[in-house]
């Protein structure tokens, strides 16, 4: 025993040596798992206070708790309210009175039930509000826009799908928010060229402008193109613009870097050249689902020496056009020809050969491509990081071997619905940077290839084995042991998967998305293992796992506190299991068609108990069984019912399914 004097020196708290900045720096590393910070804050009072001062972003689950949590965290600058289904004006008033000028960013994109009253209060008190996301605010009117206009410091504004806002509201915003840098008006059907023109005249700082599906005409384009700092312009689906209109444009925008004119069938290369006149800084051009890609279009690309990314998804491509693109572009990094008809080896090879710096290539559904193109790719594009070639059915098995051999830097590979076999897979596993691998509907692969992947690709995060029926527990076990960073795995309809795979996967602590649809051999014990091991589980799809019953639900309810989306259709879960699930506080979306033991009472109890529900998909036969006041009460809480009338379907064989799919 030491003397008391000596004992006193041990009262000194060593943690006092740590300044707050050091603690904050430590806390910055704890961002991955939200539970870690919670544990930290529960250690002692000083840690509690430190964590409370450190937190800058909040994503609350319940709007009722807003007062307490905002009081606890005074330095919150970003508030993400997408998990709260109901945000009323009162909630906004509470937020504004507590947060005042520390709040800089707020996301209300999935919240309903608020109006301009709450918004004006928010904007009034939170004077340093810089980002405001009001997407899906289908009830917001011009008075709400007038309220937004009072936010003088606003720089980023999203108004996607705000259909009732008209030119008057946009005009108010244009005059009020002078510092606006980003504005997204996608699907704002009430806005016309008058509002957009005013926006372009008044808000000179705009960097990013998204006008997708807005019914504008060319009249606002001159003022848009005069914006000195415009970098990104999205005009998807603006059918009011066509070649004739664009011919009157005098000058283009020199600062433009990204132009997206998808779904504008009326614009051909002529219009495009007028629009991009003088845009020497253009880096990315997206013309998906537009007019035919011809030689003339490729010629216009000469004007853009900095062009590095072209996306032509869904367009009809001529061979000349493709070759010319290769010729006229200086150094492409990204090329997307997904679902383009008319892509043949000749054109593709010529591009690929000329652009050795290609990083991302997307040739999904280019069904005419053969090994010739792959040969060109493997010789030329060795620094490829992303290759998507779903459904290129003419490509042989040897080609995949070549890909693996010659493109070692691949990070993303999608070879769904191809004839790749184990040799190819083994070769591909040489790409040690691989993080996303999609080998669904590849009927020729087995555990051998997959094992090699598990051994050699430690950075793997996403694995898609949808309907790749050759896979069994062995392969999955190999993956689970080798790829500890795995976050998403899809083994739907892989018949041979049993509970062993699930217990192996439970070792992947970062797993957040699990799809095991149609795996008949899986039972509740496997699910229990997953629940225990994968605490981050967010999305779970166990449709048609007939053997999963209440015994599987209970561990989920206990452990999976992050579960947000679940599909339980056709499981053997009864009322008890469903009610157990309801205790998961962040559960938002449930699909519960054809549950074996579900009754109306049990369903009602579960719906009432689950306070955070926003979407429930269930069978129409329950509609008359639930009382109308109950339905209204649930809907008033912010939940949406989706009634489905699907009959009970039995599973089909994978091959039959594929034949049917091909016929379609």
């Amino acid at each position: 025993m030491k003397s008391p004097k000596y004992m006193e020196s041990f009262d000194f708290d060593h943690f006092d040596l740590l300044t707050e900045e050091i603690i904050f720096a430590i806390l910055d590393f704890l961002d991955e798992n939200p539970l870690d910070k919670k544990s930290f804050s529960l250690v002692c009072k000083s840690f509690y206070v430190a964590e409370a001062r450190h937190r800058k972003t909040l994503k609350p689950l319940r709007s009722e708790l807003l007062t307490t949590i905002l009081d606890r965290y005074p330095s919150v600058s970003r508030l993400d309210l997408t998990l709260c289904p109901r945000i009323t004006d009162n909630s906004l008033i509470v937020i504004s009175s507590i947060c005042k000028s520390t709040l800089r960013s707020i996301d209300l994109s999935r919240s309903k039930c608020f109006s301009q009253v709450g918004l004006s209060n928010l904007v009034l008190n939170c004077s340093s509000l810089v980002e405001l996301d009001l997407s899906n605010g289908t009830e917001l009117t011009d008075s709400a826009a007038a309220a937004i206009a009072e936010a003088k410091n606003l720089e980023k504004l999203w108004l996607v799908r705000c259909k009732l806002i008209s030119d008057l509201g946009i005009g108010c915003i244009a005059v009020g928010c002078k510092k606006l840098r980003l504005i997204n008006l996608k699907w704002c059907l009430g806005v016309t060229h008058l509002g957009v023109g005013l926006l372009a005249i008044k808000c000179k700082e705009i960097r990013s402008l998204d006008l997708s599906y807005v019914p504008i005409t060319k009249k606002c384009l001159p003022s848009i193109l005069q914006l000195q700092h415009l970098e990104e312009l999205v005009l998807t689906g603006c059918l009011g613009i066509d070649d004739g209109n664009l011919a009157t444009l005098k000058q283009g925008c020199a600062s433009l870097q990204t132009l997206n004119m998808s779904c504008c069938q009326n614009v051909t290369h002529e219009g495009l050249s007028f629009l991009t006149n003088g845009a020497g800084n253009l880096r990315q051009l997206i013309l998906a689902y537009g007019s035919t890609v011809t030689l003339a279009l490729a010629e216009t690309l000469q004007k853009f020496p900095k062009l590095e990314s072209i996306k032509l998804d869904g367009c009809l491509v001529t061979s000349d056009g493709l070759k010319a693109i290769g010729d006229y572009c200086v150094s492409l990094r990204e090329l997307s020809l997904s679902k383009c008809s008319g892509v043949i080896d000749e054109g593709l090879s010529s591009i690929v050969i000329k652009h050795k710096e290609l990083r991302k290539l997307d040739i999904t559904c280019c069904r005419k491509i053969t090994d010739v193109s792959i040969a060109s790719i493997k010789t030329s594009c060795t620094s490829l990081t992303s290759l998507r070639m779903e459904s290129c059915s003419l490509i042989s098995q040897e080609a995949f071997v070549l890909i693996g051999q010659h493109c070692p830097f691949l990070e993303e590979l999608d070879v769904t619905d191809n004839s790749i076999d184990d040799e190819g897979l083994k070769s591909i596993s040489r790409c040690s940077n691989l993080s996303s691998l999609k080998i669904g509907i590849c009927l020729n692969i087995t555990d051998k290839g997959l094992t090699r992947v598990g051994m050699c690709c430690p950075k793997l995060k996403e694995l898609d084995l949808y309907r790749s029926v050759g896979i069994t527990d062995l392969g999955i076990a190999a993956i689970a042991s080798g790829c500890s960073r795995l976050e998403m795995i899809n083994i739907a309809y892989c018949k041979d998967i049993t509970d062993h795979s699930l217990s192996s996967l439970s070792k992947c602590s970062r797993l957040n998305t699990l799809e095991i649809r149609g795996c008949h051999r899986i039972s509740s014990s496997g699910l229990a293992a997953i629940a225990g091991g994968c605490k981050q589980l967010t999305k779970l799809d166990i449709k048609k796992c007939y053997d999963i019953d209440d015994a599987g639900m209970l561990p989920l309810a206990h452990f999976s506190q992050n579960l947000r989306v679940i599909n339980l259709s056709y499981c053997s879960v009864t009322d008890v299991g469903l009610l157990a699930l309801a205790s998961i506080s962040c559960l938002q979306s449930m699909t519960i068609l054809h549950l074996k033991g579900l009754t109306a009472n049990g369903l009602a109890a579960a719906l009432l108990a689950c306070g955070g529900l926003t979407k429930v998909k269930l069978h129409t036969s329950f509609r008359p069984l639930l009382s109308q006041p109950l339905l209204e009460h649930i809907e008033a809480r912010g939940c949406v019912f989706q009634w489905r009338d699907k009959p009970f379907q039995f599973d089909e064989d994978a091959k039959i399914w594929k034949l049917q799919a091909d016929v379609v």
Binding site: T138, R161, D167, G171, V175, G190, L194, L198
Partner: protein, 358 residues
């Protein structure tokens, strides 16, 4: 002629009750009738006028008499009856005026020269038109001079009129009606029953009820057009000059005596101009309760777009169109569109989408 006319009129005037019957007595003017009927109609209206003025005189005596305060009811009755009488006088006078016009425009045509009296001139008829029974000074003894201050001649040749700033020879007639005529409700009168009509065509239609002879195509046809053609078109139409009109109000820019005279183009223009500019505004818009009009058609035009100012700026300026508002806002800093809730029209497309997405 004069003596015979007056005796004739005296008998007729006794037989007629003038009091309270406005429209029965005024004479009709038909352009194609003979001079005799016109002059007899003229004298007819003269006698009526004479009777009415006498009655007004007696009523005025009642009102101004010193013991009027003892009988207030009779005073009010007197005032109202005086009002109706004055109205009848005006109507009769206007019909007489029209009569005179027809006489002057008849067979003699514009070749007849009438001196244009100056505004202060009380003399009316001079020259060789007297034979047609036009106003003469002797006949009009009993009229107060004031009545004639506003009466100018029906039509005259402008060639004798000297305009200060205008040195060129005018090549059109300038007609100036007097106020009563301009404001007269009916300008055409049926000679048979005395009913009044605004338009000559309506009168002709009405005449069909008076007998078969009015149903002939000659009677029904438009006299102005036909007389032009029937009498050897070229001769008359070359002589007949385009007619312009002058406002009777002194000092008005559309009055022919004004230095910057601008003629009005038709009778209707003259009527509307006089009503709009020189008459009190009796009609009020019931929507905005502010705009007042003297011409009914002006009120109707206003009502078509009253209260439709959808677009308002924060500075208070209202616009009829959205693009005008936007242009205004773009031009000035600090102005924003102000949401005015009246008539927010949702386009059907937006509503359709709204239905779909919900």
């Amino acid at each position: 002629m004069i003596a015979g006319a007056t005796s004739c009129f005296q008998s007729s005037s006794q037989g007629l009750q003038m009091y309270g019957m406005n429209d029965n007595v005024t004479a009709t003017i038909e352009a194609s009738s003979s001079t005799e009927t016109q002059s007899s109609a003229l004298l007819y209206s003269l006698s009526i006028l004479k009777d009415k003025v006498h009655q007004v005189q007696s009523l005025a005596g009642v009102l101004i008499s010193p013991d009027h305060h003892n009988q207030p009811e009779s005073a009010s009755i007197a005032i109202s009856s005086m009002g109706t009488l004055i109205q009848e006088i005006m109507v009769t006078a206007s019909s007489m005026m029209f009569n005179c016009q027809q006489l002057s425009l008849g067979p003699a045509g514009p070749a007849a020269v009438f001196k244009v009296p100056s505004t202060d001139d009380t003399q009316i008829g001079e020259g060789d038109g007297a034979g047609r029974g036009f106003f003469t000074a002797e006949q009009l003894d009993w009229y107060a001079d004031d009545n004639y201050n506003h009466n100018n001649s029906g039509s005259s040749n402008i060639s004798t009129h000297s305009n200060d700033g205008n040195k060129t020879i005018k090549n059109s007639d300038i007609i100036e009606l007097d106020v009563a005529d301009l404001l007269a409700k009916y300008t055409h009168y049926c000679q048979v029953c005395g009913k009044g009509f605004k338009r000559d065509a309506n009168l002709r239609m009405h005449m069909r009820a008076h007998g078969d002879k009015y149903k002939s195509s000659a009677a029904l046809s438009n006299p102005l057009k036909n007389s032009g053609e029937g009498e050897g078109g070229k001769g008359l139409s070359s002589v007949r000059l385009p007619r312009k009109y002058s406002c009777p109000q002194e000092g008005c820019r559309w009055n022919r005596n004004h230095a910057k005279f601008q003629p009005l183009k038709s009778m209707i223009c003259a009527k509307n101009h006089y009503k709009r500019s020189h008459c009190p505004k009796m009609y009020v818009c019931n929507r905005c309760n502010q705009k007042q009009f003297s011409v009914l058609s002006d009120l109707r035009t206003h009502e078509k777009h009253c209260g439709e100012q959808k677009w308002q700026c924060s500075c208070g300026t209202t616009f009829s169109r959205k693009d005008k508002l936007m242009g205004h806002v773009a031009l000035f800093t600090g102005h924003t569109p102000a949401a005015s809730c009246s008539s927010f029209i949702k386009s059907p497309k937006i509503e359709h989408h709204a239905i779909q997405l919900h």
